[in-house]
């Protein structure tokens, strides 16, 4: 007597997995949803909770999808599913930004991945820098109420879980140098270029 496992049709399982993830997101069973978004500066991993967008990660500089999701699982919840539909609004606004058709993001944000009050104050100050403008690490420290803590402000911006939407690329070194960036300096230059900030303002010191 031989009992072979039943055959599966090609694509059958992938379609069923997508339907299941979609229901998990739509019915609110998943705590966290994610979607991959292609962009001119490389693929982005976008992650949302029920409260809003919690993470945008440049896939490659951050160790790849698995490492990014492992960190989210550990710090927020492991109840994570891939659900492109749940992040449609995020994808649309990012697409518009990269196409030069959007200056401000209207997305709900979840700051759950930001633990320290100082970091949150710096990032919220950063979020107020308008499209096409720049600021300095010193000004960010000042806005967060600790004018002398500009190095700490730099670290806080470097830990920004929501790059692009919280525009830490608009923060440059005081001498006019480019400073650092979570997605790499080429990406920082590209984002500033989208906003009409040319190389004159972004010479690396």
């Amino acid at each position: 007597m031989s009992l072979r496992p039943p055959d599966l049709a090609p694509g059958e399982v992938a379609a069923l997995v997508a339907r299941t993830s979609g229901r998990a997101a739509g019915d609110g069973i998943a705590d966290v949803t994610y979607a991959l978004v292609d962009s001119p500066v490389g693929r982005l991993v976008t992650v949302a909770t029920k409260r809003g967008l919690a993470r945008i990660a440049y896939e490659l500089p951050n160790g790849g999808l698995d490492e990014i999701l492992d960190q989210v699982a550990e710090r927020l919840s492991p109840a994570i599913v891939e659900a492109p539909a749940a992040l449609d609004g995020v994808r649309r606004e990012l697409d518009e930004y990269f196409a030069g058709r959007r200056r401000d993001f209207g997305l709900e944000l979840d700051w759950a991945l930001v633990r320290s009050p100082f970091t949150k104050a710096v990032l919220q100050a950063c979020a107020r820098i308008p499209f096409g403008a720049t600021s300095s690490y010193r000004e960010m420290a000042d806005a967060a109420g600790s004018p002398r803590a500009f190095r700490a402000a730099g670290s806080a911006l470097g830990s920004n879980p929501l790059p692009i939407v919280v525009p830490c690329h608009r923060v440059l070194a005081s001498g006019g140098g480019l400073g650092g960036y979570t997605g790499g300096l080429d990406t920082k230059r590209a984002l500033l270029g989208i906003e009409g900030i040319g190389p004159a303002a972004t010479l690396d010191a």
Partner: protein
């Protein structure tokens, strides 16, 4: 790493096994719904699962419970097991997906066996669980699981004449 992996990874890693198991347990017609119910139930419980759990055994145990729900539901319906709609649906889909002249599907015969024998054979030959894992899933002794498997195979041989017995 003993932390719980992101659920999506679990879903992708075990989806083939769970779907095969459910097709064998309840037939193709009901397998899609049972698959979704399995993973949605698992997701609800997932954040409270102790890290380091045997995730494959856990998810197949949930699939087994969903299969029992389907069988119980059929018990309350006027035509149990040999649901003509199910057979028509399966023939159509297998014809489209598989090669003609493939081995006959014995799982419909397995589905007609007594409950315990049906459960043990499906967990053993589709999910590839050990007798110890099956015993955990079914809440019986390992010896009982072995006996049910052996009785089930004996019953199947009585039913099936065109399948060579394998050693």
């Amino acid at each position: 790493m003993s932390r719980l992996p992101p659920f999506q990874r679990l879903l992708e890693a075990h989806s083939d096994d769970v779907l095969r198991f459910l097709i064998a347990s309840v037939g193709r017609h009901d397998a899609d719904d049972a698959f979704q119910e399995t993973f949605l139930s698992a997701l609800r419980a997932y954040p409270r699962l102790p890290p380091g759990s045997n995730l494959r055994g856990w998810i197949l145990t949930i699939a087994h419970h969903k299969a029992m729900d389907v069988h119980r539901g059929r018990g309350r319906r006027p035509v149990p097991v040999a649901d003509p709609g199910e057979h028509a649906g399966r023939a159509g889909r297998v014809g489209a997906a598989g090669a003609p002249g493939r081995d006959p599907d014995h799982w419909d015969l397995v589905r007609a066996l007594p409950q315990r024998q049906r459960e043990v054979l499906t967990l053993r030959y589709v999910a590839d669980l050990t007798h110890a894992e099956i015993a955990t899933a079914l809440g019986c002794s390992e010896e009982a699981a072995r006996r049910a498997a052996s009785d089930g195979l004996k019953n199947l041989r009585k039913d099936v004449t065109n399948v060579p017995a394998t050693a």
